[in-house]
Subunit: 153 residues, 2 copies
């Protein structure tokens, strides 16, 4: 997909915003390679696809793997606006992602710093480098705004 | 897909055996509805699809959701020959599967009775009924045989 003009988190936020405009829970994810080039960028599509697995992370991981025509993303970074859930954390390990950068912490459904803490488990056989809380307040505001509008609708 | 002739675990074992013959790690999964009718039956296709997410459970869940043209499988049972990993356990929760029946326990990568114990977490918002260890020895023998043949090859 070529060079990023801003940061990876800006690109993920743009995907989250686009998801919100489609009526999806606003989460966005991008995959970049070791050089920082953008490989995949997706937003949540659970409603559009009527598929509970169509989280931004899963769609971006599958896109990147197809794009690079290889099974593992060992030189790639996944940047996502929200702490991944248990399914997505498992997928991140399955694709052997090198580094995970996430935005807001998710005490309710997050599975990296909360709940099952997937990458702290010996039964998870791949442990990416993890950086959480990047542009936390912006990522959280996007989600909060979405749920406030839903509640007021 | 119609009526099952044997038990759901027999159908899952047949899928696992077929996967082994294709050179895949022998895991099979089937989805049945509340009446016991077979909705989906898949074996592991990680190698064939070069997709680390192509576990038998994920493929069967996606097939069943498409087949029933609905997002959630709240009246369905997933029967699988091996204790699900963390990604698959997360997907089982995401699809709101009513009941999970699994064969052999997997202390190395299992995430139901081991490691993250996904369905024991408050951050997992759906908790299926779980029955583990069904025809444990047959399911385990299939896996053991596969890895022994790999080692001896």
């Amino acid at each position: 997909m070529g060079k990023l003009t801003g940061s990876a988190m800006e690109a993920a936020l743009a995907q989250a915003l686009a998801a919100a405009k489609r009526g999806e829970v606003p989460v966005g994810a991008v995959i970049t390679d070791a050089s920082g080039a953008l490989i995949a960028a997706r937003g949540n599509e659970v409603e559009a696809k009527a598929d509970p697995m169509a989280h931004a992370e899963i769609l971006a991981l599958q896109d990147a793997s197809r794009q690079l025509t290889r099974k593992f993303l060992s030189d790639c970074t996944l940047t996502v606006t929200l702490e991944p859930c248990v399914m997505c954390a498992g997928a991140i390990a399955a694709f052997r992602v090198n580094k995970l950068v996430f935005g807001s912490y998710d005490p309710k459904s997050g599975a990296v710093e909360h709940g099952p803490r997937v990458f702290a488990q010996a039964s998870t056989h791949h442990h990416p480098e993890v950086i959480g809380g990047v542009r936390d307040s912006e990522c959280a505001a996007l989600l909060r705004g979405f749920f406030e509008r839903l509640r007021d609708a």
